[in-house]
């Protein structure tokens, strides 16, 4: 039954409904896959087969009684370690939370449990989601299934690698500046950052609260839509969550029709600084959409030039405040300085020992940006840039239905290649950060392989706030057109993982 791992979540749901397989069989197949290949990938920080199989058995019992909780009841899912869970440790990739058990579940975790999905484990990530390569995890990097010497993207490299390597059909991620979309681009998978407030953030260990958003990580656009349909909606525990009634995203993905759709190509994200193979696949995708009835126009968003700079002032400012809660008092690590000390000295020793280099860097940067005398010049200015970015998007969306760009400037780089130059790594987020600045939704869909290195490339679509459905429509349309052209899925071209390579 090893072929079960190659099925999409939608196919597994159909098979479960038809009674041709069981959740226990599906879950066991994925646990076997994890056991076989995760030693090479390190996509998972925690797996507990007994707990997962228990949930799978319960799902099969519900189905046998004719009462499945949802179409996805019994389908396994991997959960990014930024989301807190009561039955698995939640570390957010940090030593300061090693082994920590949450007293409650994140709302999205509650929702996937209530829909009957089977949690497989917690996935690796850059510490507190700070990074674009998963190399900043305190538990070692995750490796890219396409090339084990390369990064899987970040911060959600674990979730992306898990679905790309067929360890899980579905995963949850969090996207603060591209942490769902960029790993999707890097690993040839699909990732969606919903509208800010469209999915509850309760129980997501906060990085930058005005940017963070939880979303689906999958192999197909339809699977993302199905998972988004499970996790969307208002939550009393998250006062920034929207009370909107959301349409069915699965219906939008089924529609998959771009006839008459106006697509704006963002001039600032098409050219200089982007790898040739990334641009080639991007323009090929646009041509295909055009040939199928979409109208392609160029649009200019001049403020994007300053978006990365503004983001790297606002994010550290919010992060330095959010991470103040790791104070050695209520949860996590406590380090006693030599000879004991006051609570402040214990706090300082704990944070010195428990945080990694990138986290310390951003906390200090944020503390600086917020300190008296610099606040207006840095944090205040960055918030004004945010206004300008929002105005640019509002202007662009008055002319087009969706915007398009490559998801990131380059394909996967080698592990260790960019670790010494944090500013260079931050520039890689240039295409994904603007959506978080404006709170708008974005999707990354596989667009092919770059000619120069044979590595995956993604195309990003952005829609106005609350119009997430447009992304599923255009994303599913392009996915179908590309797969018809290729005659196969992109992931079928990835090298076979045998396990034991490392």
């Amino acid at each position: 039954m090893s072929d079960l791992i190659h099925k999409t979540a939608a196919q597994l749901a159909e098979m479960l409904a038809a009674g041709t397989t069981t959740s226990v069989e599906i879950t066991q197949a994925h646990l076997d896959r994890i056991a076989a290949v995760d030693g090479d990938l390190n996509a998972f920080l925690h797996v507990n087969a007994a707990v997962s199989l228990e949930a799978a058995k319960a799902s099969d019992a519900r189905r046998a009684a004719g009462a499945p909780l949802s179409p996805l009841d019994g389908v396994p899912i991997a959960i990014k370690d930024v989301l807190v869970t009561t039955d698995m440790p939640s570390t957010s990739g940090s030593k300061i939370l090693e082994g920590w058990m949450s007293p409650y579940d994140a709302t999205v975790v509650t929702k996937v449990r209530e829909a009957g999905l089977v949690p497989l484990g917690k996935t690796n990530m850059d510490e507190f989601a700070m990074g674009s390569s998963t190399e900043h995890s305190a538990y070692g990097p995750t490796r890219n299934p396409w090339d084990l010497d390369r990064i899987p993207g970040g911060s959600g490299g674990g979730s992306a690698a898990a679905v790309a390597a067929f360890e899980a059909p579905l995963a949850l991620g969090s996207d603060t500046g591209g942490s769902i979309r960029q790993p999707a681009h890097i690993t040839g998978t699909v990732g969606v950052k919903p509208t800010y407030g469209g999915v509850s953030r309760y129980g997501a260990i906060a990085l930058a609260s005005s940017f963070d958003q939880i979303g689906p990580v999958t192999r197909t656009v339809m699977d993302s839509a199905l998972l988004h349909d499970v996790i969307k909606g208002h939550d009393v525990h998250d006062s920034t969550s929207l009370k909107d009634e959301w349409p069915s995203f699965a219906e939008a993905a089924k529609n998959a029709n771009v006839k008459g759709l106006k697509i704006g190509v963002i001039e600032q994200l098409d050219g200089e600084g982007f790898q040739p193979g990334v641009l080639a696949r991007f323009h090929e995708s646009l041509e295909l959409l055009k040939a199928n009835g979409a109208e392609i126009v160029n649009v200019s968003l001049p403020s994007l030039e300053h978006a990365v700079a503004a983001y790297y002032l606002i994010l550290p400012a919010e992060a330095s405040s959010n991470l103040a809660k790791f104070d050695s008092v209520r949860f996590g690590l406590r380090v006693q300085p030599e000879g004991g000390g006051t609570v402040e000295q214990v706090m300082s020793a704990t944070r010195e020992a428990g945080f990694g280099a990138e986290v310390k860097r951003r906390i200090i940067l944020g503390t600086y940006a917020l300190s008296a005398g610099y606040y207006d010049a840095y944090y205040g200015s960055a918030q004004k840039v945010r206004t300008l970015v929002q105005r640019d998007f509002a202007d662009a969306f008055s002319k087009v239905d969706v915007l398009a760009s490559p998801t990131a400037p380059t394909t996967a780089w080698k592990l260790g290649e960019q670790l010494d130059d944090p500013v260079a790594m931050w520039r890689g987020d240039i295409a994904t950060i603007p959506a978080n600045m404006a709170g708008i939704p974005g999707i990354s869909v596989p667009a092919g392989l770059a000619d120069e290195d044979g590595l995956p490339v993604g195309i990003q679509f952005l829609a106005p706030a609350r119009e997430d459905a447009r992304l599923y429509n255009v994303g599913a349309a392009l996915e179908t057109l590309l797969e018809q052209k290729w005659g196969h899925t992109l992931l079928s071209q990835a090298p076979e993982l045998k396990g034991g390579a490392l």
Partner: protein, 99 residues
Amino acid sequence: MSDISAEQVRHLANLARIDLSDAEIATMTTELGQIMEAVASVQAVATPDVPATSHPIPLKNVYRPDVVADVIPTDKALASAPEHDGSRFKVSAILGEEQ
């Protein structure tokens, strides 16, 4: 802008309650200088006529009825604490000897 001193970083580390080593302070002083140079461009476009945005989709007056909701019980809240006495978190001395 980029003339950040080691003394300043030491002060920031103290504010952020991170007991950075001398080596870390040296590295971070250089890095912080480079980073601030890279982000300084925001000041050029942030003219006085542009209002600041703090929240992507602003909501106003998010209220709920004043009733006890699903509260985490004390034993669960304390279960993962570094130290507790059964009803409260335990911490080391708040004041030093000289205070």
